[in-house]
Every structure is written in structure tokens, then in C-alpha cells.
């Protein structure tokens, strides 16, 4: 993949983000608008510059061998796993979701020692639970479907 292609994609995403902010500007009272508006304009100019230069570079640049596809294959499923973990935290509570996430993560990352896998998942979760609830007085997320608590 060409390096400038990634910059081009980033430029397009940033442009969309800046436009989503620009749409909200008229709703801001005039007295609070000046400073963010200046930043918005500068960001727009710089993003357009990045986009233009990356398009121009793309024509000249040669293809480079990258491991993007391999990286995406590992990282995207892992990100999905974290997303599921965060969503499930409010459904089945902190303890159950964290133990399940740790087991799934360690299996996915090919940890072979099953004893370490099980002990680490349960022990770390329980230690963190006790430290946060008892010492730091933080009530960790409780599940709406069911909840394990001590």
C-alpha cells in the first residue's frame, strides 16, 4: 500500500469530522464562537493541504510492501472483542465480563498454559474488584441481566 494513501484516508475522515463541527457553529452564541471558529478554519486549511499533498504524492509514490492486511486481521477482531467486553459489562456486571474477556483474549492471543490462563483471569479480576470497591470506594458496573458481587 502507498503511504500517502493512508494520509489521504485520514484527511477525508478529518474533513468529515470538521464538517460535523462546522454544522454546529451557527448554534453557538457569537460571544463563544470566535476562538473555536479560528481553530476550525486553521484545521480545515491544514486538512485540505494534507489531502491535496497526499493525492499529489500518490501519483509519484511507488507501492511499498506493508503488513497492513495482516495487522488488520489481528487487531480488528481484538477491537471487536473489547467492544463486546465493554457492552457486556453493563449487562452481566464487571466480574463476569472481565473474567470472560480475559479468557477470550488469552486464548485469542494463543497463550498455551491453561492453568495460567484460568488462574490469571479469575485472580486478577477479583483482586481488582476488591481493590476498587473496598479501598478506592468505586462501585464497578453492575449487570442488568445478572450480577456477581461480593
Amino acid at each position: 500500500m502507498k503511504k500517502s494513501f493512508a494520509d489521504m484516508i485520514i484527511g477525508i475522515v478529518l474533513l468529515a469530522f470538521l464538517t460535523s463541527l462546522a454544522v454546529q457553529v451557527p448554534a453557538i452564541p457569537e460571544v463563544s464562537r470566535g476562538y473555536p471558529l479560528v481553530l476550525l478554519i486553521i484545521s480545515y486549511v491544514m486538512t485540505i493541504w494534507l489531502l491535496v499533498t497526499s493525492v499529489l504524492k500518490q501519483k509519484k509514490e511507488e507501492k511499498q510492501e506493508t503488513q497492513v492486511v495482516e495487522q488488520v486481521k489481528i487487531i480488528v477482531p481484538y477491537c471487536l472483542m473489547i467492544t463486546v467486553y465493554l457492552v457486556m459489562m453493563s449487562k452481566i456486571g464487571y466480574i463476569a465480563s472481565t473474567v470472560l474477556f480475559m479468557i477470550a483474549s488469552l486464548i485469542y492471543l494463543k497463550l498455551k498454559n491453561k492453568v495460567v490462563l484460568a488462574v490469571l483471569s479469575v485472580l486478577l479480576t477479583i483482586i481488582l474488584y476488591f481493590v476498587f470497591t473496598n479501598f478506592l470506594t468505586v462501585i464497578l458496573p453492575r449487570g442488568s441481566w445478572f450480577n456477581i458481587a461480593f
Binding site: 454546529q24 484545521s43 481484538y78 497463550l111 495460567v116 486478577l124
Partner: protein
């Protein structure tokens, strides 16, 4: 003097001593693991400090910071992989000493030099910070505006390799800092209709995501690998000449380290290389450098640990975070109601002196903790990446949740982590995000108030001597790196032309 004594009595409370030792253990562990850093350690453990007294909280963060900077040198010696960039010169010399079967001697030298550098830098912090704070008392809104802009100029120095991308990240991040309420009038802005965004982005979750998850994603690229295969440690004994021949070297390197630390953005890596270079120039045996020179190790380690105390001087007195860990320190101090600046040494004297005295003690304790890690250092490096990655995700999630006790922050942290990884992979620096988010609100507020103070006659700002001086510094800090870069480019061109001929 009374405050110093109060600091002493606070630091020597058993609970605070345990906090220092615990922080050092964790910090050294984070520093020793290649890919992990002092910044990551400080970021992840900020939420753990919420229930602590401000003094104890700052002691924990200081111990993590000092331990993290030192820890990077253990793998540098044992496996030749610097845990942090600041340990690169140590790796060069350490590797040669390991080959000669003197890994233990190298590790002892590293620990001793690091503790010396860190201890002297804390003395500099104790002497210089209150003096600078007296000058900083003259700071009004116009001066605060220039201080914030000066702080942001760090971006230019941090992104020398890709200035355009660094500045772009800074401007977009300044825009992100405007989310939520206008700091002067209180009107809501850019909330997308979400009540969670009414107060803007919480800085700590963003920093945790930005500095921890990208490293996890990098580990996933090779999850089966161990950190490294390490060599044997052997005897930790030093020769008497190792100490007597290196006294002046250590003092010189520490002074350079402290000075580099005070300059925003010039972190431990620059100090390590600069001190190494100076030691080589001054050495009677420069030919030994690169072949296992104890002088090289002492210079690099005393220099990079000298930065730790130095980098806190502008932070405590002016509120300028000169590095990513200092930026996280600033975030943590604000959370604890201890706002750095000119009034810090009067309004929060007890807390700040506890931290400074603790900083000195931490550097003494670091020798003992460091020696423990030197003996079993090789064990750390066999922890599989799969375990480390999983543990970091779980710690980052629970730590972020504890910040404001809501899941929205956890999603923000996760988003920041993904964006941070994409930025790293595409050469966008991440440090400007931390600086812009921390300084953005203050900059807008001081700009707005300065405009109101000098309505129609903004140039009158320069009639204030301190504001004028800060303006000159600000311009200089933007222009100097650009001039230096242009010079370096010309030099390279000339070299290439010379080679071509």
C-alpha cells in the same frame, strides 16, 4: 524551612513510604518491559490516586515516573534492547560489558548513576522551583496567555520529524478542548446533543487510551513473542575506580540533565545522548566508548535521570508540562485540586514540599529496588506478550471507569486508543494531543480575559515586562527549531553532494 520540615514528616509516614516503594516496583517493571514506558505507568495509575491524599498521590506518580525512566536501562544492559529511547547509549555500552561477562557490574553502575542523577535533580527542584515561583507571582492573564502558547510551542520541538502533522494534531486537539462549556461565558459547544459532552472531554481517559492501548495493539502484531532472550547477570560488584573515576562525569551529566529537563520537550533521550557525547569528548579513553565504557553508562544514566526533577520545575512553577509524563502529572494535580503555578508554593506548600522531599527519597530507595530488579531482571523479560496485552486492557478499562464512574469515559478511552494507534502507524505524533487538551482551556480563557482587559489596545500587553519577555521566548521557541531544522537539512544536502562528488 517549616514547609520543608513538614514535607519530611509527611514523606516518612509509613503509608507514604509504602506508596513510594510500591510505585517504584511498578514503575521499574513498566520501564523494563520494552514498548512500555514511564508515561504509560503514570497514565494507567492516575485513577488509583483518586482516593489518596494529594501528597501521597503525587508521591506515587513520582515513584512511577522515576522508576519508569530507570527501568528502561535493565533490558538495555541485559538484552541490548533499550526499554526507553533514553537508554539507547546504555544499551550500546551495556552490550559490550555483557559480552565480557560483566553484566552485573554494568547494572550496578546503571543503578548508582541513575539514583545519583535523580537525587541531585530533586535537590535542584527544591532550590530552583520556589525561586522561579516568586518570579511567576507577577503572572497575570496576559502572561498566562503567553505561558500557554509557550507551552504549546513544545509541539514544534516534539514534532521536528514531521512538523506539519504535529501542528495539525495540535490544532485539531485544541478544537477538541473547546468541546463542552465556554470557559468564560459557560455556553455549551460541540456537544452533538450528548449530555456527557456538556463538560467536554475528560483529559485522563483520553491520556490513558492514547498512551496505553497503542502499545497493546503493537504487541498484537506478534502476540507469540516473548519480550526478549536475556543474558546472565553475574556478580553485581563494582570496582573502586568505577566510582572514583566517574564522580566528575556524574556531576557534569546530572547538571546537563537538569538543564535539559527544564527546557520544554527536551526529554531524557536528548539528555542521555548529549551527556554521553560530552563524556566521550572529556574522556581520557574515548576509544573505549562503544566497547563497554563505564563512563558512557554513567553519563547517559545520570543525564537521563537528571531530567526527571528538572522537567517538573516549569510544571510546578508555570504550569507548563514539558513532556508527556509531565502533562499527565498536570492532569492528576488538577484532579486533586493542586493547580500548578505561581501560587502553588504558598497555597499548597505542604503537598508540594511532600512531593519534592519524596522525590529525593524515591531516588535513594530506587537504588535498593533497582538492585532487586537487577538480580531478577531477566525474569521480567520472559512474560508473554499475550498476558501483558490482556492485563493492560483490563487495567486501562477499570482505571478509566474509576475516573468519573461512567462508561462513557471508557468508550472515549477506547476510541482514543484506536486513534492513537492509527496516529502512531501513520507518523502523527500523539504528545501534542495531551498538551493541547491540557493547555487549551486555559489558553482560551486567558486570551478572552486579556482581550477584555485591553479592548482596542491589544498592543499594550507588551508594556508589561514579563508578558513581553514571555512573548519573545514564545517567538524564539517557535522559530529556533525551524531554523535548526533548516540548518540540518542544508547540512545533509551538503553531505550528500559531497558524497556524490
Amino acid at each position: 524551612m517549616e514547609n520543608i520540615m513538614l514535607g519530611f514528616s509527611n514523606v516518612f509516614q509509613l503509608s507514604n513510604l509504602l506508596v513510594c516503594i510500591g510505585g517504584l516496583f511498578v514503575g521499574v517493571l513498566f520501564g523494563a518491559l520494552p514498548g512500555f514506558s514511564a508515561t504509560m505507568a503514570v497514565a494507567i495509575f492516575v485513577p488509583f490516586t483518586y482516593v489518596m491524599e494529594p501528597g501521597a498521590a503525587l508521591l506515587l506518580l513520582s515513584a512511577l515516573y522515576c522508576g519508569g525512566v530507570f527501568g528502561g536501562s535493565i533490558p538495555a544492559v541485559l538484552v541490548g534492547i533499550p526499554g526507553t529511547p533514553a537508554s539507547a547509549p546504555t544499551a550500546l555500552e551495556g552490550k559490550a560489558l555483557v559480552k565480557r561477562g560483566e553484566a552485573g557490574r554494568a547494572l550496578n553502575l546503571v543503578t548508582l548513576a541513575s539514583c545519583f542523577g535523580g537525587f541531585v535533580s530533586s535537590a535542584a527542584l527544591l532550590v530552583c522551583a520556589p525561586l522561579l515561583a516568586k518570579i511567576a507571582k507577577m503572572v497575570g492573564q496576559p502572561e498566562q496567555m503567553f505561558v500557554a502558547i509557550f507551552g504549546l510551542s513544545v509541539v514544534v520541538m516534539l514534532s521536528q520529524e514531521n512538523l506539519f502533522k504535529g501542528l495539525m494534531v495540535a490544532f485539531v486537539s485544541l478544537l477538541l478542548a473547546t468541546f463542552g462549556q465556554d470557559p468564560v461565558e459557560g455556553f455549551p459547544r460541540f456537544t452533538y446533543g450528548l449530555s456527557q459532552l456538556t463538560g467536554g472531554f475528560s483529559v485522563v481517559p483520553v491520556l490513558i487510551g492514547l498512551f496505553s492501548l497503542p502499545e497493546v495493539f503493537k504487541m498484537l502484531e506478534d502476540p507469540l513473542g516473548k519480550m526478549a532472550e536475556s543474558g546472565k547477570v553475574g556478580s553485581l560488584k563494582l570496582k573502586l575506580t568505577d566510582i572514583t573515576h566517574n564522580m566528575f562525569n556524574a556531576i557534569r551529566s546530572t547538571i546537563i540533565g537538569v538543564c535539559i529537563g527544564i527546557i520544554p520537550a527536551a526529554g531524557p533521550d536528548i539528555a542521555a545522548f548529549l551527556c554521553y557525547n560530552e563524556a566521550k569528548k572529556a574522556s581520557r579513553e574515548p576509544e573505549k566508548f562503544g566497547n563497554g565504557s563505564p563512563e558512557g553508562i554513567v553519563a547517559a544514566e545520570a543525564g537521563n535521570n537528571g531530567v526527571t526533577g528538572g522537567s517538573l520545575i516549569p510544571l510546578l512553577t508555570l504550569g507548563i508540562p514539558g513532556s508527556a509524563p509531565a502533562a499527565i502529572f498536570l492532569g492528576a494535580m488538577i484532579i486533586h485540586g493542586v493547580r500548578p503555578g505561581p501560587t502553588l508554593f504558598t497555597q499548597h506548600a505542604e503537598t508540594v514540599y511532600t512531593m519534592i522531599i519524596g522525590f529525593a527519597l524515591i531516588n535513594i530507595l530506587m537504588y535498593f529496588v533497582g538492585m532487586f530488579f537487577c538480580k531478577c531482571g531477566s525474569l521480567i523479560l520472559v512474560i508473554p506478550k499475550s498476558v501483558l496485552a490482556t492485563v493492560i486492557v483490563v487495567l486501562a478499562v477499570v482505571g478509566t471507569f474509576a475516573t468519573n464512574k461512567n462508561m462513557f469515559d471508557v468508550y472515549v478511552m477506547f476510541g482514543a486508543g484506536i486513534i492513537g494507534y492509527l496516529m502512531l502507524r501513520n507518523d502523527f505524533p500523539t504528545s501534542p494531543v495531551a498538551l493541547a487538551l491540557l493547555l487549551g482551556t486555559n489558553m482560551e480563557k486567558s486570551m478572552s480575559l486579556t482581550r477584555t482587559m485591553y479592548e482596542g489596545e491589544l498592543w499594550m500587553v507588551f508594556s508589561r515586562p514579563l508578558a513581553a519577555a514571555l512573548a519573545v521566548f514564545t517567538v524564539f521557541s517557535f522559530v529556533f527549531p525551524l531554523v535548526k531544522m533548516a540548518g540540518d537539512r542544508k547540512k545533509k544536502q551538503a553531505e550528500q553532494e559531497h558524497k556524490g562528488e
